[in-house]
């Protein structure tokens, strides 16, 4: 079966600074794939290259079709939800408005989607007229995932959901991503520094170093891998 998302020899740069030097990776439908690596390795840029937020060369195919020069607003309409670095929360707007924005490209009623999202995050109901910026970091991360779910994505790109959150909240977030994948069949490309949790919930993983894929394999294999254990898992 052809992968849902495939990058072949993707290069990207910010002005003169090259961030990706030929990244090749595949994400099969229904899987969680983790993209690991240190700061500056090119993880965020890889997601941006898929969404068309950065100028790129090389080949990106989604659902068998090549993505060419489309901008992020087009990619979003293809069923790819991207929760960016910094979560992309509209902090000046209410929780409810943030959720509505997730479904902004669709016509018709969104009540069904809202109900679906509330089964994952029942607490959102009570907070819906609160300004999103006043939520805690963990709540904002969950709101970002909820907003992405309102897009009814076939694929979720999510950038460092654990950043700056307490360990308990981090496990909660990873549990939600796992449930989302299992119950809704959403394919997930997860960018993380938290290798341990990411390898625990993912099927496959890629490790980026200085803009290239340094290691790849099933998550179990990588968790056993000597060098990865030492550099990324710390034991």
């Amino acid at each position: 079966m052809a992968p849902l998302l495939a990058l072949r020899d993707v290069h990207a740069r910010y002005g003169q600074v090259r961030a990706l030097h030929g990244v090749t990776l595949e994400v099969d439908e229904g899987q969680i794939v983790a993209l690991l690596g240190a700061n500056g390795a090119g993880k965020t840029t890889t997601l941006r290259a898929v969404s068309g937020m950065v100028r790129r060369e090389g080949e990106v195919t989604y659902d068998g079709k090549a993505l060419t020069r489309e901008g992020p607003e087009h990619v979003a309409r293809l069923g790819i939800a991207h929760v960016p670095e910094g979560r992309g929360t509209f902090s000046e707007l209410t929780v409810w408005e943030n959720l509505r924005l997730g479904a902004i490209t669709r016509r018709g009623s969104i009540d069904g989607d809202l109900k679906r999202v509330l089964t994952f995050f029942p607490w959102l109901e009570k907070r819906k007229s609160q300004q999103a910026g006043t939520l805690s970091g963990g709540e904002q991360q969950m709101l970002a995932i909820a907003r992405a779910m309102m897009q009814r994505p076939r694929m979720l790109l999510i950038d460092e959901p654990s950043l700056g959150l307490a360990p308990l909240v981090v496990s909660e977030i990873f549990r939600i991503l796992h449930d989302l994948n299992e119950h809704e069949g959403t394919t997930v490309l997860l960018v993380e520094q938290n290798a341990r949790n990411s390898l625990a919930i993912s099927n496959h993983a890629y490790v980026l170093e200085t803009g290239r894929v340094a290691y790849s394999g099933t998550s179990d294999e990588l968790a056993q891998h000597e060098a990865i254990r030492r550099s990324y898992l710390g034991y």
Binding site: G88, F90, L93, E97, I104, T105
Partner: protein, 323 residues
């Protein structure tokens, strides 16, 4: 425990102004009349100020061409009336022309330079538009002063010994109605939500599928509509004549209104406009040496004081960037 008074300063100030205007109006008929005609001017400043805020919020740029565009559309309304359309017919057609014109200007003159990403370049482009549009007005309609009819008959209403002109009341009504319609658009429609998202966080908005550049064009269209309303109301008022530079002064008052309100705040621009309109009118009728020539400088003084004392205005937020 020290009580934090800061959040109460602005509401207290506004309540003070409202009480002052109310008590004054109850005490003196002249005061009441001057307050209402000041508020009518203020409604015009509020509409144009709101147009400035709409564009500023989305692009962080003051649109210097806003006044010229308003003048142009007012001439369009005048022209339609010359061709035999009734006032409200011409009014509505002009709003459509303004909407399309605002979008066209954004597409032709602003978007190409905006893409290069520098605020100063966009400001210069907007000054270019100002010169071009003002030139076009002179070229098409000539420098003569035209007579712009008013939507409202010359009549006064008497309430308890106070004579209110229908013109003033109508201007206030139209300004308030346009502000309310705009507010409802932003608050209750999907399009409004998308426009707000695009202005607040363009990159995040793109990621949920909002066509941000199209939202910016629509913003210019709406701003031009507000400007057209302000222009048509202004040209019908006794203090402004329909001529190619008629909105130059009004634009300064609108700047002052927007700055007073906080530049980022639509409600602030409206309240700022009404406050400046009422205050300046009272100032000129009660302080003998304040002649009309001093009102424009007075608006500048208001702007300067706000920028020095509280640059974020009455309702603006100080931007805090979280890393």
């Amino acid at each position: 425990m020290p009580v934090n008074l800061r959040p109460w300063i602005v509401p207290a100030l506004l309540a003070g102004v409202v009480i002052f205007l109310l008590v004054g109006s109850i005490e003196s008929a002249l005061f009441a009349q001057q307050t209402v005609s000041g508020l009518a001017n203020g409604g015009i400043y509020a509409s144009l100020g709101l147009a400035l805020v709409l564009i500023y919020r989305a692009t962080q740029v003051i649109n210097f061409a806003q006044g010229a565009i308003a003048t142009f559309t007012t001439y369009v309304a005048w022209q339609f009336m010359q061709w035999g359309l009734g006032y409200w017919g011409a009014f509505v057609v002009t709003l459509f022309v303004a909407f399309a014109g605002g979008i066209a200007i954004q597409l032709v003159a602003i978007r190409p330079v905006e893409r290069r990403g520098n605020v100063l370049t966009v400001v210069i482009a907007s000054i270019g538009v100002l010169i071009a549009v003002e030139g076009a007005v002179g070229w098409i309609w000539g420098p003569e002063i035209r007579f712009m009819p008013s939507a409202f008959p010359v009549r006064t209403y008497h309430v308890g010994g106070v004579a209110f002109s229908l013109q003033d009341l109508g201007t206030i009504g139209v300004s308030i109605a346009s502000v309310v319609v705009l507010w409802a658009l932003f608050q209750f429609t999907k399009l409004g939500l998308a426009m707000r998202a695009a202005a607040l966080r363009p990159n995040a908005a793109r990621l949920v599928g909002v066509r941000v550049s199209w939202m910016l064009s629509l913003g210019w269209g709406l701003a031009a509509v507000l400007g057209a309303i302000a222009g048509m109301m202004a040209a019908a008022s006794p203090s402004v004549l329909l001529q190619p530079n008629m909105m130059d002064g009004v634009l300064i008052y609108a700047f002052a209104a927007a700055v007073l309100g906080g530049l980022e705040s639509p409600a602030g621009a409206v309240i700022g406009g009404l406050a400046i309109g009422a205050m300046l009118n009272l100032l000129s009728s009660y302080v003998s040496w304040v002649t009309p020539q001093l009102l424009l400088p007075a608006a500048f003084v208001v702007m300067l004081i706000v920028l020095l004392v509280k640059p974020s205005g009455l309702f603006g937020r100080t931007r805090v960037k979280r890393v």
